[in-house]
């Protein structure tokens, strides 16, 4: 049973000040996520409570109490201040899921600087675009990733410091500094920078249809909704052991892999390892995980490995399961109900929302395949695509839209206010997804409303892939589109025309795949390349990805009046 009252009662009496009061925040006063997730918990008597239990793929373990993360985030904050990092400057975290990533995030925020987490599998081109746009001053990374930074260092004049957390005796280059968290003198007291509600906190890059990725800028007040949604939608309780699979290079990994659990004073576990069904189940059994926040792609990979692997383990500690990243198919809900005797609760949100906005709250009847209902305090609807007016017709698909004003709403796109303003129509924020609402108020996801590819729960922009494809030998033009996939929902497919003298072949296909994987990321790598003679274009010469996407999904292509005959 959930500890929440009925949905109608929750929404009728809801006000975000509930979270403000619980967190001890006074409007107009200072609020700093770094301190709220560490110092505050120690002040509340939780200094000796375990905050983080960490394990890597070799079975090495580390344990940190709330006092440890308070002191160690102070230590990192002091180190950054000594380097000359100023409030408002961007400090990138570019690491695997090591403790320095989680604790460093709080340390950056304590200095008043802006944390810019980036997925460690990004190649140098993805890194260059994001660090260049943000004008990042410092990057904290690992020895295994520093070579990618070195390759682009000369193109980043604002990047003053490269901090390596595990350099050991490895030789470092100019502007590189070694910082080993467990060997640095512990800083017991640090004067936390007095950020206020609208002070910038986190910069997460997200992909769009056009142009390069956009830096979604969040503020310290986002804590208010991240705290409460973690408590209510993920049903976090004081004695929980919580596991969020997401990497903090993406928004789920920060909102619900750092801020949500630690602001609630929860013990969380982290597994720094790739996918392995046996290891994952063994990890949950070992640490007696009670709340598990995962993703449909991971769930489908587990389904593919078979239920026998799960049945070898005692997973009876699991109390609440939730999922995010893409629609959770009904089969996955039913599978978990049969295997774990409880369903996965789908949650919907995105980088720009900063927190869960539509969800199956604990205790609410789940309709398998549905996204659920708006979280209390969130006004959500679907709009007519032409008039941008709410449809108010059960079962009719429209654009998912939210009424602006919740605490963790993105405040702007870095260096791109125009792109940010374009996300609003008729007083609504447009998520870029389509859905319908049934007569009971449940939302049902239909798909993206643009050309962005949702692969494994991550958004990949076609423009970035197409730009990188131009750097491949022989590629004249290309179009990157989504292709349906049973595990990842969508994967990238590239249609490519070749320059004279080149011919499509298996060798060239593999060369292109590896080029994109290394330059951008494995997520952006086309899983299939089709060599074609020409691409569909408008009369003005713009490539029409929509036609290719429809072909992949076997959908009608609609109006072709603006497309050139070929």
């Amino acid at each position: 049973m959930s500890n929440l009252p009925a949905y109608q009662e929750l929404t009728a009496n809801f006000d975000w000040s509930i979270a403000e009061r619980e967190l001890g925040y006074k409007p107009g006063g200072p609020i700093n996520i770094g301190a709220m997730c560490s110092d505050r918990l120690c002040d509340l008597g939780l200094a000796n409570k375990v905050a983080l239990l960490w394990e890597d793929c070799q079975g090495n373990t580390k344990r940190f109490t709330y006092d440890d993360i308070r002191v160690l985030s102070n230590t990192i904050a002091r180190f950054l201040c000594d380097l000359g990092i100023q409030p408002g400057e961007r400090v990138c975290l570019f690491m695997d899921r090591v403790p320095e990533l989680y604790i460093g995030f709080l340390g950056i925020l304590k200095t008043g600087a802006v944390a810019q987490p980036l997925f460690s599998a990004f190649g140098e081109e993805s890194l260059l675009v994001r660090l260049g746009d943000a004008g990042t001053s410092a990057i904290i990374t690992q020895k295994k990733h520093v070579h990618k930074v070195r390759k682009i260092r000369g193109q980043l004049p604002k990047l003053r410091h490269i901090v390596v957390v595990d350099a050991g005796r490895a030789p470092l280059q100019e502007c590189e500094t070694s910082f080993q968290m467990d060997q640095a003198p512990r800083v017991e007291q640090f004067p936390v920078y007095p950020t206020t509600a609208e002070s910038p906190s986190v910069l997460h890059y997200t992909s769009g249809t056009t142009g390069q990725p956009k830096g979604a800028q969040h503020v310290h007040y986002s804590l208010i909704s991240q705290y409460l949604t973690a408590k209510w939608a993920l049903d976090l309780r004081p004695d929980d052991i919580y596991w969020c699979n997401a990497d903090p290079g993406w928004v789920t990994g920060t909102s619900y892999g750092i801020i949500g659990p630690w602001s609630n004073g929860i013990t969380q576990v982290v597994l720094d390892s790739g996918f392995n069904a046996e290891r994952w189940y063994g990890f949950m059994e070992k640490y007696r995980v009670t709340v598990w926040y995962s993703a449909p792609t991971a769930i489908r990979l587990l389904m593919k490995e078979g239920r026998e692997v799960a049945q070898k383990h005692d997973l009876s500690s699991l109390r609440h399961l939730a999922s995010v990243g893409e629609p959770l198919n009904p089969e996955a809900v039913i599978w978990s109900q049969q295997l774990f005797k409880k369903p996965f609760h789908d949650t919907f949100w995105q980088t720009e929302t900063g927190c869960i906005v539509i969800t199956n709250l604990p205790g609410m009847p789940i309709k398998p395949g549905s996204m659920g209902k708006p979280f209390p305090g969130i006004t959500a609807t679907v709009l007519d695509a032409k008039t941008y007016e709410p449809l108010n017709q059960p079962g009719v698909a429209g654009l998912i839209a939210l009424r602006p004003g919740w605490p963790s709403q993105v405040r702007t796109y870095w260096n791109n206010e125009t792109g940010f303003k374009a996300k609003f129509k008729n007083g609504w924020y447009l998520c870029g997804d389509r859905a319908s609402i049934d007569a009971d108020g449940y939302f049902w996801f239909m798909g993206r409303d643009d050309d962005v590819i949702n692969t494994g729960g991550h958004l990949v922009g076609p423009f970035e892939i197409e730009s990188a494809l131009l750097g491949c030998p022989g590629v004249a033009e290309s179009a990157a589109v989504a292709k349906p996939d049973p595990v990842n929902m969508e994967v990238v497919k590239a249609y490519v025309t070749l320059k004279p003298g080149f011919e499509g072949s298996d060798d060239l296909e593999l060369e292109i795949m590896n080029h994109i994987r290394k330059r951008l990321s494995p997520l952006a790598m086309p899983q299939e390349i089709e060599f074609v003679d020409s691409l569909p274009k408008t009369r003005s010469g713009k490539i029409v990805r929509r036609i290719l996407r429809c072909k992949e999904f076997n959908e009608p292509v609609g109006d072709l009046s603006t497309v050139m005959d070929d």
């Binding site: 020895k143 295994k144 520093v146 790739g274 996918f275 392995n276 590896n514 790598m525």
Partner: protein, 87 residues
Amino acid sequence: MDELTTVVRDYIIREYLEEGDDREITETTLLISGGIVDSFSMVSLKRFLEKKYSIRIPDADATPDAFDTVQRIAELVRRFQTVASSA
């Protein structure tokens, strides 16, 4: 280490380890669960094996578990080489 295992190992070192990443890759090093190759990158590794050894590995057999070590990958390739030669 036989020739097949050496080819697979060398390809992984060349294509999947970052420049300067001096981790040793043996027949039993964990690749997928060790974070060296992820489930997306597995597709290009599978494509390499299919091309190099003129085999077809069905998606159902291309699981993270089957690709988790050089040894298991070599076993998988041998299995489908046998299938191809007996067809």
